[in-house]
Amino acid sequence: MKKNLTVYYEKTGFSRYIAHLDTTDIICKALRRISLPCATTSGCHVRPKIQFGSALPLGHASLCEKFMVVIEQDVDPEYVKQHLKLPEGMRVTSAEISEPEKCRDNAEKVGYNLYFLTSLAASAAEEYLKSDQHICVIKKGRKKSYRLSEALVSISLQDAIVKVVFRQGVKNVPSASMVINALTNSSEAVRDNLRLVERTFTTTIVMRENSVESKNTC
């Protein structure tokens, strides 16, 4: 009986500068090292069946990353947590067995802590995020304009930390990464004082007819 193993992990310290594709590669190798009985894809190039969450932008730390792997035999999630050896800064926080999911929701709420060197810079960042700015992004060679406020769910300031919740994966809403990029490009003071970008939680938004319901995933 095939089952899903969901592994939650942190990506902090220097490991936040490992790109998403390299991260997936590193995780596949780590899974092979513990001889996890992964189900594999059929076809010419046999690959383990693994599903990663939305790509964490380069440089963003995260306390709530996850991936799902289809397994063919029972495994002890605790064993995976203890033995899955990842690079410095990456650490498995928990693992659990779940039933295979049929579809994947792209819409999600993501919480971020933006750590600044000074409270002045943090306050400038908060002000920028609260303002109803338009941000321009070039996507597939086309210039596209987004309203920043569409992505913003909530924002608060605590000393030199801006705590912000974005929604992303929804049509005409810029991703958290686009907003943070726009923020760092907004002024030199903000860019040079931004010490750490840390993702704190991800919540899937289940889209239903005429309603939106949140499901906590992490």
Binding site: S15, D22, R32, V46, L58, E88, G89
Partner: protein
């Protein structure tokens, strides 16, 4: 000790390409020891992605870190964006393990894999704020080099305290012991260099004497390193590698590596199977590369592949065989290894005509080539790469046309079965390397190499062809056949901005042109033909191959070409 990695801010790191190249923390990397007797930094003078694929770095890193008294870390050449950042922040280049500046190490071992990294070596010293020339250095780390491109140590003589000729596994231990002893006895740099000059295979410019190439005679009994670091950035060879044998059974007259790694020493297949499984278990790599100069010449290859197949650790495991000869062994191997997956095949026929293949002693026939291609045209091989050389000694236009002819035949055979199969052809100019029978041969001029390359391409039907820039071929010949004056050329080119000379997008022709001009070095003096009885600049190196043998080989090539009775 301060960790210089912490001096870089988030926004600064975000401005460089692939910042993970400079930050370490990879699985299986060894944290720096607290107070070792000797701090060593292993430097590879090219990008992380290339350096992390280099076997020498893997061997020495694992070997030295097994010692309690030595702590070995790594550093690679920083890409131009990171170089700018270091200079802007006035930071020294640092190691990946601890962020320690290179200038704080006791010794820096530099792997010298190819001539096009020479300017990178100078750049690494400059960015570490270490004086470039050894005579300017009275303190700080000793700079010791080694590798195939330092077999003629003269072009780099001015920059290195010592250069190892030959294989390093035993010598590196002796060097470490010698430096630890010197440190304890508080010897000055000159006396330490003097002590180093007593080590077999180590050439010290300050105390020059003849030097004999170092050979690891016990190679067959040694265990291959099995704890490779798992890189945090995808490398050029994204696989685990195991060296199955060292040396080459062939005697290609142009090949420096063939002579550098002599004699042939094979590891036992049973030991290799155990080591490979341990290596795959420790790294989790999907592919295993069976490394050697000519893997299909390994005497137990079929048994090795079968053994690996029988002990397969995971379904997606593949074996990669990077150096194949188009010979009977290859045919047998391709027929017997249906279970082993491979996406591509790489062959180097080098010459198009049988006449020229005989001259260069590439012992394969047109029939063998076509037989291998016939078998390789099966479904599982998607790519076929073919390497040819132009400008070989005694070559004429018929030989050049034969290259196009052979490629067209291969193309026709291959496409008959699978129309969309990729065939990649690569052309490179011949470089007369020291310590080979062709060390006396001259190199074709840049214009002549270009003409020959165009002649090949004009006669190709469908195949796409890439080639190495002719100027680079000339430069490589100058740098490999150079003398002490060549040091000035390298330094001048570096000062003019030459970096990453092996990278097309970074190669700065102007910097080198200007360097030739200011140092008044005539490249033709280095690329031209040399008389068989002339004294070669590198003749003080005993390469374990008698000069009479090399001369005889050259004369045999001349005879084959019909230029001698």
């Amino acid at each position: 000790m301060c960790d210089l990695r912490l001096s870089l801010t988030h926004s600064e790191l975000m401005q460089v390409e692939k910042p993970a190249r400079y930050l370490g923390g990879e699985t299986n990397s060894v944290p720096a020891k607290r107070e070792p007797a000797l701090r060593v930094c292993l430097v590879f003078p090219d990008l992380y992605e290339l350096g992390m694929s280099n076997l020498a770095v893997k061997i020495f890193y694992e070997q030295l870190n097994l010692r309690d008294d030595v702590s070995a870390e790594r550093a690679f050449a920083p890409w131009v964006d990171f170089e700018k950042l270091l200079l802007k922040k006035q930071l020294k280049l640092f190691s990946l393990e601890s962020g320690r500046p290179l200038s704080d190490f006791d010794v820096i071992f530099v792997t010298i894999p190819y001539e096009m990294t020479f300017t990178n070596i100078l750049n690494i010293l400059y960015l570490s704020q270490i004086p470039l020339r050894y005579l300017q250095r009275n303190h700080g780390p000793l700079i010791i080099g080694g590798g195939p491109s330092a077999s003629n140590p003269l072009p780099l003589a001015a920059f290195f305290d010592a250069i190892l000729i030959g294989e390093g596994e035993e010598a590196i231990e002796e060097i470490c012991d010698c430096i630890i002893k010197s440190k304890k006895s508080d010897l000055n740099v000159t006396d330490t260099r003097k002590a180093l000059s007593e080590i077999e295979g180590l050439w010290v410019d300050q105390f020059p004497k003849s030097v004999k190439r170092r050979v690891l005679k016990s190679f067959s009994c040694t265990k291959a390193p099995v704890n490779h670091i798992v890189p945090n950035v995808r490398t050029v060879h994204n696989r685990a590698t195991i060296e199955i044998f060292r040396g080459c059974a062939q005697g290609c007259r142009f090949c420096n590596a063939g002579y550098y790694y002599r004699p042939v020493r094979e590891r036992k297949a049973s030991c290799l199977i155990d080591a490979s499984n341990e290596l795959l278990q420790n790294t989790g790599e999907e592919a295993l590369g069976l490394l050697s100069l000519s893997t299909t010449d390994y005497s137990c290859l079929a048994g090795l592949i079968e053994g690996l197949e029988n002990t397969r650790l995971y379904p997606e495991q593949t074996v990669s065989i990077p150096s194949m000869r188009m010979s009977k062994n290859t045919i047998q191997m391709l027929e017997n290894t249906s279970k082993i997956k491979s996406t591509g095949l790489t062959f180097a026929p080098e010459a198009g005509s049988q006449r020229l293949r005989d001259i260069i002693r590439k012992d394969i026939t047109a029939d063998e080539i076509m037989n291998v291609i016939q078998i390789a045209k099966g479904e599982k091989y998607r790519k076929i790469k073919l390497y040819f050389m132009i400008g070989l000694p005694f070559e004429n236009d018929e030989d050049i046309l034969a290259i196009a002819d052979l490629i067209n035949k291969i193309e026709k055979t291959v496409r008959y079965v699978k129309p969309r199969r990729q065939i990649n052809v690569s052309l490179s100019g011949f470089i007369p390397k020291p310590f080979t029978p062709f060390q006396w041969a001259g190199q074709n001029s840049i214009e002549e190499l270009k003409r020959k390359r165009r002649l090949v391409i004009a006669n190709l039907k469908n195949t796409k062809c890439s080639w190495r820039e002719e100027y680079l071929c000339m430069l490589e010949a100058v740098l490999s056949r150079g003398d002490k004056k060549t040091s000035e050329l390298i330094e001048a080119a570096w000062q003019n901005g030459a970096r990453f000379d092996g990278w097309n997008e970074q190669f700065n022709t102007e910097a080198w042109e200007k360097a030739f001009e200011t140092t008044k070095i005539d490249s033709a003096l280095y690329t031209g033909e040399k008389k068989l009885d002339s004294k070669l600049p590198w003749s003080f190196v005993d390469f374990n191959t008698p000069i009479s043998y090399l001369k005889n080989e050259y004369l045999m090539a001349e005879k084959k070409a019909g230029e001698l009775p």
